[in-house]
């Protein structure tokens, strides 16, 4: 193992790791937004919204994220959407993970016992009030862990934007593999950084989960 080489190039990997973190944070925010809207649509009493929500989930989950990214980045200009690679990456990955989060959030909401909404409704709460004061506070606790799984997948998923030349960790690893012919060392450098990011995120999720459970 060429440790000297690793020591020489690791600052570039650190820089790239920041880009991966930025991508992950922005994608998480967009994904949670899409997931919340998607779940609201799927649980709506309006058929049209339910169909839109179901179509979103089905199309996104039924096709590769890489292709979605390519359609947005390379195909976007044809329909008047001009994005730079980073923007396309965030939007493409965010909308993608949003479909998975839709199902997580929806699943947590419908997992709350029917008796809860019945009890809320019998004291005269409206559907919205029952959702806000009774169902959501309970569903939120339930969804922290599975959303953590989604976010874990999302962090690894940010590697896809290497294919549209965003200079993040995987792209950097690939470039240095090409120039140094040292695949294992470069893999190790970027791999460790990914694992650090994932580990810290995982601790954060576990902390939130514990906090939400103190009752």
């Amino acid at each position: 193992m060429d440790v000297d080489l690793m020591l020489r190039v690791y600052p570039y990997f650190l820089q790239a790791a920041w880009v991966t973190i930025e991508l992950s944070v922005l994608t998480t925010i967009l994904g949670l937004t899409c997931g919340t809207l998607g779940a609201a649509a799927r649980l709506s009493r309006f058929r049209v919204l339910r169909i839109i929500g179901a179509t979103y989930v089905s199309l996104i989950r039924g096709t590769p994220a890489l292709i979605q990214l390519f359609i947005l980045y390379f195909g976007g200009p044809q329909i008047g959407i001009q994005l730079d690679a980073f923007e396309a990456g965030v939007i493409g990955l965010g909308v993608n993970i949003g479909a998975y989060m839709t199902e997580t959030i929806r699943g947590s909401i419908i997992a709350i016992d029917k008796g809860q909404s019945e009890a809320a409704r019998t004291v005269g709460l409206s559907k919205m009030q029952a959702m806000r004061h009774v169902i959501l506070p309970q569903a939120m606790r339930l969804m922290i862990r599975p959303l953590g799984v989604n976010i874990n997948a999302l962090i690894k998923g940010t590697a896809l934007v290497a294919a549209i030349s965003v200079v993040e960790l995987t792209y950097t690893a690939q470039r240095y593999i090409g120039s140094t012919y040292r695949p294992f060392e470069m893999f190790l450098l970027s791999g460790v950084l990914y694992m650090v990011i994932i580990y810290v995120t995982g601790r954060g999720v576990a902390w939130l989960d514990r906090k939400a459970r103190i009752v």
Binding site: A119, R121, V123, L125
Partner: protein, 256 residues
């Protein structure tokens, strides 16, 4: 059409799931302060009837009236939502499985709805909670969470939660069926107390002794119809119908 003479009126209630008819043209009147028990085998439609009174399970046809107002009025969605929430505030309900809100402590379980719907202040809410919980003997558990209570205690809190809305009518859906035998009595005592305070109550129950001791009238339901109704002495001692007799005999055997 609001010439209701009776406090609660159920007119020609009918409910079907596809081809399966679970309520077949049931009519029933309950006067203010009366306590009515509904008994019958499982699947007889007794819970469905109870849940139709506050429209948790909507009827296929028929009308429910409470104190001169139709509960299940035909209205556009938005208006109906408003109307039914108003009506439900006047109809308390207690469930077999308590359905307390696990994320709220006892106090907040009792005061959430009054705070949201009646806009009472925090101080008023606290007084209300203390009052209602004292009533069911649960004052000392006011800061506990539902998971820290026994089944009987949970059910008493659930009753306090319903009473906090100052309902005109209370519905009990097998309120003691999920309890261990030794916990049944404490809930029955609370219900008896309510009866003595002239609360109007409709009770679905399996407990014939309790029904006999507190109710003014007993309805026996089977297969979606009211087979027989009358004062408890009559229904339990000397029923007219064979089906009633059969059910009571089987029930008695089961209880042994």
């Amino acid at each position: 059409m609001t010439d209701t003479q009776h406090f609660v009126e159920i007119r020609h209630a009918q409910k079907a799931y596809g081809d399966l008819e679970v309520l077949k043209d049931i009519s029933l009147n309950v006067e203010r302060g009366q306590i009515v028990a509904i008994i019958g085998p499982s699947g007889s439609g007794k819970s469905t009837l109870l849940r139709a009174i506050n429209d948790l399970d909507a009827l296929t046809s028929g009308e429910i009236w409470l104190d001169g107002v139709q509960v299940n009025k035909t209205l556009p969605h938005r208006q109906y939502e408003k109307h039914i929430n108003q009506m439900r505030q006047q109809i308390g309900m207690v469930f077999q499985h308590f359905n307390l809100f696990p994320h709220l402590n006892v106090r907040d379980n009792v005061t959430m709805a009054p705070k949201l719907l009646k806009g009472i202040s925090k101080a008023e809410a606290d007084t209300l909670a203390e009052e209602q919980l004292a009533h069911v003997g649960m004052l000392e558990r006011i800061d506990f969470y539902p998971s820290q209570l026994s089944g009987g205690q949970k059910q008493r809190v659930a009753i306090a939660r319903a009473l906090a809305m100052k309902p005109k009518l209370m519905l009990f859906d097998e309120a003691t069926s999920a309890l261990d035998p030794e916990l049944v009595e404490e809930v029955n005592l609370v219900m008896k107390k309510l009866a003595e305070e002239d609360m109007t109550m409709i009770i679905v129950t399996h407990e014939m002794d309790f029904a006999a001791s507190v109710c003014d009238r007993v309805l026996f339901m089977d297969q979606g119809v009211v087979v027989e109704e009358g004062p408890p002495e009559k229904i339990f001692r000397n029923p007219d119908k064979d089906r009633t007799r059969e059910f009571l005999r089987k029930h008695l055997e089961g209880a042994k």
